[in-house]
């Protein structure tokens, strides 16, 4: 039964991150997601310091606030004349350092230790349960389900709008879409996704789940809906295979999942029919041969 919950959590992580990640790749904001995944730590520590509890709800609020703060600060520095990569680098390293410092100073003896935050521990998921509406399920599963449904609701209502503001922001603005509000609400979703996947895979490896499957899907499909399906498939495959391999070699589950994400990407990058690197090389060699025959 415990194994079932762990695998379910992994699969839900794959699905939720896969869904959000698609728009991260398309909007070219993968590195802002990396920044948010680091600063979420700061948000969680602040939430802990204010409420003095590790309540999941306050953690979600703190994380969302930290995510918006990150996106906002990057924007402020950019309009202040700093180039984008440096703005992201300055913001997330500073907030992350602040988060780590606060943990060591004020929260040293609670469950909130830095290593747990960075790497997560999906194997412990089944023991921490919540009872909502009379159903008892692990906390991580509940949080993932809540965030996944938020993501789905957002996409259900604004699918057309977010697609337009992603591919043609100027046109979207000219027909009156609030693209700034879209940007910030999307960034909020990214931070919520990050904090929900946090218990299971940890803050740094969330980036692998957010960016990896969707980057692989970007190579596979030319339509947004196709990308979403591929991305979820890759996410689930990586987390489930990662779990079994980690169990087999008795090593870190979250690390193995991230490694599997990399393996899937390399497979598609090298072997995909027609556009894969190997395929292209073979075609080039063949062309050269026919030329020399002529």
């Amino acid at each position: 039964m415990n194994e079932f919950w762990v695998i379910l959590t992994g699969a839900l992580v794959g699905i939720t991150c896969g869904l959000t990640g698609v728009f991260l790749i398309l909007r070219k904001t993968a590195m802002i997601a990396d920044a948010i995944s680091h600063t979420v730590l700061f948000g969680i520590v602040m939430a802990f310091m204010i409420t003095q509890s590790l309540n999941g709800f306050w953690m979600l609020i703190g994380a969302a606030a930290a995510g918006i703060l990150t996106a906002y600060l990057v924007q402020v520095l950019q309009t202040g004349g700093l180039q984008e990569d440096a703005a992201i680098g300055v913001v997330f390293t500073s907030l992350f350092a602040l988060g780590v410092l606060f943990i060591t100073l004020f929260a040293g003896n609670v469950h909130l230790d830095v290593e747990h935050v960075l790497m997560g521990e999906i194997a412990f998921v089944p023991w921490d349960t919540w009872i909502i509406l009379g159903v008892e399920m692990p906390k991580a599963v509940w949080m993932l389900l809540i965030v996944l449904s938020l993501n789905l609701l957002f996409l259900f209502f604004f699918y057309k709008e977010i697609k337009l503001s992603t591919f043609d922001p100027v046109f979207a603005l000219s027909i009156g879409l609030p693209i700034v509000a879209m940007h910030y609400s999307f960034m909020t979703l990214v931070s919520l996704t990050t904090v929900a996947t946090f218990d299971s895979v940890g803050a740094v490896l969330v980036v692998a789940m957010l960016v990896g499957p969707s980057a692989t899907a970007y190579l596979m499909s030319k339509s947004v809906s196709g990308m979403i399906v591929w991305s979820m498939t890759f996410g689930v495959t990586a987390s489930v295979t990662g779990y079994y391999l980690a169990k087999f070699w008795n090593t870190s589950i979250s690390g193995m999942m991230a490694a599997l994400v990399g393996v899937l990407f390399m497979l598609v990058f090298l072997l995909k029919p027609h556009d894969g690197l190997l395929w292209k090389t073979v075609k080039r060699v063949r062309l050269n041969n026919t030329k020399s025959v002529v």
């Binding site: 979250s254 991230a258 990399g262």
Partner: protein, 297 residues
Amino acid sequence: MLTGNLLWVLVGTILLGVAAGLNGTFSFLQKQSLVGDAAAHAALPGIALAYLVFETKELPILMIGAAITSGLSVYMIQWIVNQSKLKADAAIALVLSVSFGIGIVLISIVNQSTAGNQSGLNDFIFGKAATMAKSDLIWLSGSALLIILMCLLFFKEWKLMIFDPVFAKGIGLPVERLRTLLTALTVLTIVTGIQAVGVILMAAMLIIPAAAARYWSSHLGIILVTSAFFGALSGAFGTMVSSLRIGLSTGPIIVLVAATLFLLSFFFAPTRGLLSKLRKKKEFKQRRVAQEAMSHE
């Protein structure tokens, strides 16, 4: 308070700050700051791998392992961007997170093979400058000095390569080789700093002083000196503060000192700072109003 070892630590972190400040400025101007972040994360699997293969904690061997994987990660990013339709940000994020994941897998294997948590590899994640051994600090200082020397030696060539690559090629400079050398030096800087600052925050040492220095001048020479000064200051301050209490990692504090310097520069730097920009805007407005009033008389 300034006992023998702390003095060495101080010298080490100051030299590291200068080296990262100089090198970071060049990669900042090339808009490659986040590649440094990926390279720093990618040092982790190299350290673990070197430890697994050679079963030693000798710093030079771990540093070579780290240099190989973090150099490889920079190469991978370029390769993915060149060979597929993925953009640079996606490639950086992908390489960064996957190599960090592999690093964690390897470290957990190391932690199982050596009884308990004896390897001390976890210290590489956040850095432990205050408790570094003297021999390690000599390595750190030596390689920081080498980086500083190289930055001074290639100052003119890199300046030209960054601001006018076409002209640089025209007068016969080996631009590609110079660029590779700069990348190699960035990797060396990262590898030098990881034991003191940790893999996650090493990128900050490269990015923040350079970004802060940019507010003070538009001359490369002055930016470099300012950035080196900021780096040294954060290194020195961070080490002093983190030595005050046991259990305080050095990395986060160095980064926070650097961030404070950045904030000061962002607001108060002359001409490019936010306050002076606002003041100029206001003065301009007042002059306009005065002129309008004059022309209506």
